[in-house]
Symmetry: C2
Subunit: 238 residues, 2 copies
């Protein structure tokens, strides 16, 4: 790795959770961000990610893993012919069409390799167990424990995967981001990947619910902005 040796690596998407994580870890450690271009429909998130890294002066690499689009086309994030469903239509589904097969383990494996090569001993990722309920088994505490147990078998390099938000609600993550100065306008969440967020995909819905619960107004623009009941909440404008 050709940057100043980082002590940790953050897996960074440019979304809400991992941006809050990046701001948090940047205060604690010399870190470096790995950003994945995996053929995601919402590749606009990569622009947000790079922008935040530049603003925070964090070394970062965008890794081209666009082969993933070719081998994991069961996901609506990767096969653009598939519809991004409305949150209402996937309630009760074990895994929604937007689930990307084994993506998190792939990200963690690559980040662990980078950490090992660079001599870093921590890999941070922004998983929250609350997402397990929407079919993302690879955001669970059990997953985290098991993957750490696997990499602990490497006796020469001791690397730990840390997910500081694993037990947080979305509202808790947002509050942590606010405390660390995150510019939420400069994050991207919507699966549809347009500049103006839809507000109705599962990713937008979870974000909006988080802001509503946290008592803050989300500064992003939404197609359904008029229908978001900010006025019914005692929100503090950002």
């Amino acid at each position: 790795m050709d940057v100043k040796k980082p002590k940790s690596i953050v897996i960074y998407s440019g979304g809400l959770d991992s941006t809050c994580l990046l701001y948090k870890i940047n205060k604690e450690s010399d870190t470096m961000a790995l950003i994945f271009n995996y053929g995601q429909r919402h590749s606009i998130e990569i622009e947000r990610a790079i922008d935040n890294c530049i603003k925070l002066n964090i070394p970062h690499k965008v890794l081209d893993i666009s082969f993933f689009k070719d081998i994991a086309s069961s996901s609506a994030l990767l096969d653009y012919n598939k519809e991004i469903p409305n949150i209402r239509d996937i309630a009760g589904h074990a895994q929604p069409p937007t689930y990307a097969p084994n993506r998190n383990m792939m990200f963690l494996s690559i980040a662990t390799a980078a950490a090992e090569s660079a001599g870093a001993d921590k890999v941070y990722y922004g998983a929250a167990e609350v997402d397990t309920h929407s079919g993302h088994w690879d955001c669970s505490l059990d997953f985290l424990k098991n993957i750490n147990q696997t990499i602990s078998l490497n006796r020469e390099h001791h690397i730990e995967i840390v997910a500081p938000y694993i037990t947080f609600s979305k509202a808790d993550i947002i509050k942590d981001g606010i405390a660390n100065g995150v510019d939420f306008k400069n994050t991207h969440t919507c699966y549809k990947g347009e500049e103006i967020s839809c507000g109705t995909c599962s990713s937008c819905a979870s974000r909006l619910q988080g802001f509503l619960e946290a008592g803050y107004i989300d500064p992003k623009e939404y197609v359904i902005s008029d229908k978001i009941p900010w006025k019914n909440y005692n929100c503090q404008a950002l």
Copy 2:
């Protein structure tokens, strides 16, 4: 995945172990091979891999993960300025300079993603625990068990990673390959990546030792061919 739906996926390098594995699995299951271009110095193995897939009429994909060269340059397989050591010089090292950080977990994660997307339920890889002694912790039975335990948390897709050679000696693998009709001349093992193998890197040394123990002559050409004591063995020519 745009090929006929495979029942299994083989992680295939074009080396000795995974070629024997490919021939074996091809007899048992509709399979598909994933070949990784990860910036390896011995990328000549990819040509051998493609050639064997074509001969066996096995669907295959070559995945470009050459970003790995950039993030995992601690390995002499990826940083071409580093020397490939002679087997004599690395005896007793826990991890030799040719060890590629967390490479196997990355391969397995990607292959599992492909299996999940394609509806396949097995991922085969050619690990042999005997290589654990040369610092490859990610060829161990413990590693295999742990990674299977991790992916078993995915309750929607049941995929098993299978390593049929995990307890085999190199000689046993060679014998299995012979039984299944492997053309060993059309495999590549040497880390240096030249057409004529060096015979002295750890990879060549392990292969040659395997042939000597199995009682067969390796049909590959070696720089040190004159010094290999085939004549002292009761070898059966291939």
